[in-house]
């Protein structure tokens, strides 16, 4: 019983520390220096370098979504609905979630390991000794880069998924590009695209904050680096999925569509 309560206490302590860490990241992002150069560098590292993974995964996912949807729709003669189903599925929820999980896997692990490595080799102390605010330079820049990059990556994944679905329909049904795109966007409205894409700002914040927190506070040498990397992926993915439930509910409340 004592062990359970001890574990629960530690869990709540960690959750509290993570919350304060995230709050500090928000607060510090409004204070000078704004580290614009480093933010751009991190957007390149996080966003641009995730591009190939996001495009390839999105395309493959679009193909699979079109294949699966067509198989179901064929049974009641509604193959023409495949473009709408693909675009609606991708843009409203699956696209943002997949993009976020991909980024949590690639970037979360990277940030966790990088900052943990810097912590255990005293590079973070070296930054402080050189009169540089390590939290602003390392944490705020990465969190902001995740927040900025994720909606962009989500949009890229959505459109590459649409391209995958289109390629599938063009091959299987000889559907023209124009007809596919017309059908895909015929029932879509701005509110189907914007709120789900904007919610990835929250996902970006979660991924950035969790992975930076676990890396920045790492201990125990090489073991700590590995642990920070693994935990970054697990915890940020879990929190993204859990927060998606809440955000979908909020979006449906505001846009009952």
């Amino acid at each position: 019983m004592t062990a359970v309560s001890h574990r629960l206490n530690r869990l709540f302590d960690s959750a509290g520390e993570l919350g304060l860490f995230g709050f500090r990241a928000i607060k510090e992002s409004f204070r000078r220096p704004f580290e614009i150069g480093e933010i751009i560098h991190q957007i390149y590292e996080i966003g641009w370098r995730s591009g190939p993974l996001v495009i390839a995964s999105g395309f493959a996912f679009g193909v699979v979504l079109a294949l699966q949807t067509r198989a179901s729709m064929e049974s009641f003669g509604a193959e023409a609905m495949v473009p709408q189903a693909v675009s609606f599925g991708l843009f409203t929820d699956v696209g943002p979630l997949i993009a976020s999980l991909l980024v949590a896997g690639r970037v979360g692990a990277g940030i966790g390991a990088e900052l943990a490595g810097m912590r255990v080799t005293e590079q973070i102390d070296a930054l402080e000794a050189l009169a540089i605010d390590s939290f602003k330079y390392l944490v705020v820049t990465r969190v902001l880069a995740c927040v900025i990059a994720l909606p962009i990556l989500t949009t890229i994944l959505n459109f590459s998924g649409l391209a995958g679905g289109m390629a599938s329909d063009m091959i299987a049904l000889h559907m023209s590009t124009r007809l596919f795109l017309n059908d895909a966007f015929s029932t879509m409205s701005w509110s189907d695209y914007m709120p789900p894409t904007i919610k990835t700002v929250v996902f970006g914040f979660i991924i950035g904050t969790v992975s930076c927190y676990l890396g920045y506070t790492a201990t125990q040498g090489a073991t700590g680096v590995g642990r920070a990397s693994t935990r970054s992926v697990v915890l940020s993915s879990l929190l993204v999925i859990l927060s998606d439930v809440i955000l979908v509910k909020i979006i449906l409340f505001w846009y009952p569509g």
Partner: protein
């Protein structure tokens, strides 16, 4: 001494990690331009002392002053100004491993000065040549040997021309010849640039080359201090052993 005050002063400083007391009521001061060497066995809090001096750790009790500024009472901006005047060479150099040696040395210059890129490059070359790494600027830290890493770390610590230099184990992991080269560099810094040196080391024989004064940390307290000769006549056997270099 600037305005007659010591470069660094510790007054009754204590520090513990959990239940383990690392420093217990430690006091000492180091004059401007002086080379002060902190000796002691492993785990006696020598590196912690350096980190306390620069404010990377906070003391549980006591006060630390750098050029008269009480470190614990400084706000972030003022602490940053003080840190610009203090160089720190970490035990493993702590070079930023994602950028080249040149960029490591240029890093503080780009952050804290308004020098043009040309002037920064000229300063970087000068600092790297001072530590005999003039031809290795484009190398990544992972390509350097232990001694080269130490020298690159020293070049970075010197990039802003600090008045005070904190050095953690300058000779650890190095052979005697490479360690002697590092000591020569420190002696040169002290003589030519009048830099205040606070050095943590096990190697008292090497440290005698450049140190004016020594202190021995044992069980969280200063067990003895003075010149090497004075320590050699101490009543404390550990102090005598450390001073003679037989305890390493």
């Amino acid at each position: 001494m600037e305005n007659g005050q010591p470069a660094v002063r510790l007054e009754h400083v204590s520090k513990a990690f959990g239940d383990r007391k690392i420093l217990d009521d430690v006091s000492f001061q180091v004059g401007a331009g002086e080379a002060f060497c902190l000796l002691g066995r492993s785990g006696t809090g020598k590196s912690v002392t350096l980190k306390l001096i620069i404010g990377l750790l906070k003391p549980d009790q006591g006060s630390i002053f750098i050029e008269g500024n009480k470190i614990q009472e400084l706000d972030a901006a003022k602490l940053s100004e003080v840190r610009k005047r203090v160089g720190f060479l970490f035990q493993n150099a702590a070079l930023f491993d994602s950028i080249s040696v040149s960029d490591n040395v240029a890093f503080p210059l780009r952050r804290h000065t308004r020098k043009s890129e040309g002037d920064i490059q000229a300063t970087v070359r000068e600092k790297l040549e001072e530590v005999e790494l003039g031809k290795d600027g484009e190398k990544m830290p992972s390509e350097l040997s232990g001694g080269m890493r130490k020298r690159a770390g020293l070049a970075r610590a010197l990039s802003l021309d600090p008045g005070i230099l904190l050095i953690d184990e300058p000779s650890s992991g190095l052979d005697r010849i490479t360690a002697a080269e590092i000591y020569d560099l420190l002696l040169n810094l002290k003589k030519k640039q009048k830099v205040t040196l606070i050095v943590v080391t096990h190697d008292v024989r090497g440290a005698r080359k450049f140190s004016d004064r020594f202190a021995v940390l044992d069980q969280g307290k200063i067990a003895g201090s003075g010149t090497a000769e004075e320590l050699g006549q101490s009543e404390n056997s550990l102090v005598r052993q450390l001073a003679s270099g037989s305890e390493t």
